[in-house]
Amino acid sequence: MQFHKYDVVIVGAGGAGMRAAIESGSRARTAVLTKLYPTRSHTGAAQGGMCAALANVEEDNWEWHTFDTIKGGDYLVDQDAAEIMAKEAIDAVLDLEKMGLPFNRTPEGRIDQRRFGGHTRNHGEAAVRRACYAADRTGHMILQTLYQNCVKQGIEFFNEFYVLDICMTETDNGPVCTGAVAYELATGEIHVFQAKAVVFATGGFGKVFKTTSNAHTLTGDGMGIVFRKGLPLEDMEFYQFHPTGLAGLGILLTEGARGEGAILRNASGERFMERYAPTIKDLAPRDIVARSMALEVLEGRGAGPNKDYVLLDCTHLGAEVLETKLPDITEFARTYLAVDPVTEPVPVYPTAHYAMGGIPTNVHGEALRDNDNVVPGLYAAGECACVSVHGANRLGTNSLLDINVFGRRAGIAAAEYAQGREHVELPENPTKVVNDQLELLLSEHGKERVADIRTELQATMDANASVYRTEETLKQALHDVQALKDRYAHIQVQDKGKRFNTDLLEAVELGFLLELAEVLVVGAIERKESRGGHAREDYPNRDDTNYMRHSMFYKQGDELKGEIRLDYKPVTFTRYKPMERKY
């Protein structure tokens, strides 16, 4: 076991983690622990843009952006947080530009902006050009720019250090976070990082689904760790399905394509979004477009030999626009489906994309212990957190915005908290949980294959907890996930070595996936309404009387199969009353 002592430890080196590190690193002694080399993080896969009401190309203001975010989130958004995000978006974009991000430019040399789903002028009148972008690799440029600035600042990274637990110390004022325990992939050694503040920025858990835009490594580790400590997760039933994944593969094709004018068509060539969202059509928010696509297929209007997808038509955009503004997705379609978007429409279908829920935080990134109290020393930002600025459905581009605004806030808050404070003593035997877990996984205690359990998990989640859900499908999913948890108790890790044991890593990750899949399904069963990304066929309407509230999930006990306790948290309103959501 090796021991380290820092003021601030940041877990995860995607956009949120590195944005936090840039703030924290200049104020306090900071270490970043990351499962992946920083530039491998999935922020780099984001494509279309980052919204901010710069008004560089047409009239816009942050109040409209706030409203769109709240309406897009089907009124489950905490309105104070959305207002902060929309307001600070402008500086967040300008900060990135000053750090060197090569945004596309207007003819006047300003940051160019494009249209995006659900972002509108004057409370829904028409689509507005609000998304700042760098071709269709905006996330890549954000990730690179943040990493470049971390290099510039000399931020200390521990690459391929997999955090498996946090240290919680009981004090007179309740539990305090005092550090993190990490597994060094290169050596198999356990490291304890004592810290005054720990910031989680570990991303999402899309790998509970089969068809997903998410990386193999997005297994919800941070959320899982926090949940196992008995701390709450919020709004986990709300999972976003991005409308335009490459059919059958799930690889993301940016909404920016539709922002540039691409059109969704069914088998007969009809522009079907005109029926579902007459005003902004193909640029309706993702939940609405994904449901519309699923309905077209369910009702027999899907394209292809099995009528199981729809078509994204970019052919009228011309080769020039595709090659200059959408080059990556053009290449994805060519490489993976052998379809050339310049001349043929691209087969697409919704793909599991983004967790609206996560570790509940306040607007300073402080993690909550319950509805009213924070966990001193514990912070979260980005997809693993739930502020909640996305409510029941996140608008496109607001994730890149979230990581920058709340990554920055969490970094500042963590460093300021650490300044002038002493380290709190670590709990006794801080490595016990991790040692026991790894010892068990490496011991011979069964023959179950990780891949089999994961494949079956993903199959049941795709079939039963996807775009449309019913009580019946969700109960099937719950039954399946619980049975898989039983089998997980007998998994076999073949690699017993110390060195780069990725076999062991996958086994640990699967444990987190099972944990989070169950939380998602339990939340979806209990929410007997349809709101944003959660669409219940058996409860097709939004029910503000009974469900205008956040879900809060608590794990009971230490066992993988421990009960989940469900509680509720009120939504914060400022100036926007819930209305019917029409586009």
Partner: protein, 259 residues
């Protein structure tokens, strides 16, 4: 060097059903685990593959169903994160961007695919190499925007043409395909290598940047751009289609014509 055909198939229980249209591919992998091997060895796995499968799928098949000790990096699986650079049939590729159909043997001949780690970096285990020397070279060229004086309140103005000037080199994902395809880098590990120069280029030709002189001084060094012999391996290897050799030539020209 020894070579074996794996008899491990089925040792992890029943294999998953073979999909319709699959062919059997002999996947020949260069293995090396310093914990147990004294030297690298070839091991061949017979893997069912669809023509549309990525090579990464084949590696996953081996790891998940035949031999869990097979070790490689991967994350996004669609050519954006840069984790899975390796030699596929002797050339540097991202395993997630090569499809089996493009490697199929002609006619009825059986298909065989060889996989080896990228060259010139120490092998840690199987296909996983030590990326630190590569990242150090990247950091050495000051790969960040350098400016002096006061910052503007709004964004810096940059014309679309000035932005276009360095567009190509902003695509780099630091996968190391270029650097580890370079014969100069294989022989002289002290050479910065193409990827570092690409990232220097990205800033040298950015109209907002004021650090070009510092970077050019670094690249004028004995380990710098003059080592490049213009073999174009790097350009062929880049999975992002960056004109790497051209970028290096532009840096050389900037050095020749400065002041």
């Amino acid at each position: 060097m020894t070579a074996t055909v794996s008899e491990k198939a089925g040792s992890r229980g029943d294999l998953p059903p073979v999909p319709d249209g699959a062919v059997t591919v002999a996947l020949k992998v260069l293995r090396f685990n310093p914990e147990v091997d004294s030297e690298p060895r070839w091991e061949t796995f017979n893997v069912p593959a669809l023509p549309t499968d990525r090579v990464l799928n084949l590696l996953h098949y081996v790891k998940w169903y035949i031999d869990g000790t097979l070790t490689f990096r991967r994350s996004c699986a669609h050519g954006i994160c840069g984790s899975d650079a390796m030699q596929v049939n002797g050339v540097n590729r991202l395993a997630c961007k090569v499809l089996v159909k493009d490697l199929m043997a002609k006619g009825d001949k059986p298909t065989s695919i060889t996989i080896a780690p990228i060259k010139g970096l120490p092998v840690n285990k199987d296909l996983l190499v030590d990326m630190e020397p590569f990242m150090e070279a990247f950091k050495a060229v000051k790969p960040f925007l350098i400016t002096y004086g006061n910052e503007p309140t709004r964004e810096r103005v940059q014309s679309a043409a000035d932005r276009e000037r360095f567009d190509d080199t902003t695509k780099c994902i630091l996968c190391a395909c270029c650097t580890t395809s370079c014969p100069v880098f294989w022989n002289e590990g002290s050479y910065f290598g193409p990827a570092a120069i690409v990232n220097a280029h990205r800033f040298i030709f950015d109209s907002r940047d004021e650090g070009a002189e510092e970077r050019l001084d670094i690249l004028n060094d004995a380990e710098g751009v003059w080592r490049c012999r213009t073999t174009f391996n790097c350009t062929d290897a880049c999975p992002r289609g960056i004109q790497v050799t051209k970028a290096i030539q532009e840096v050389k020209r900037a050095l020749l014509f400065r002041r």
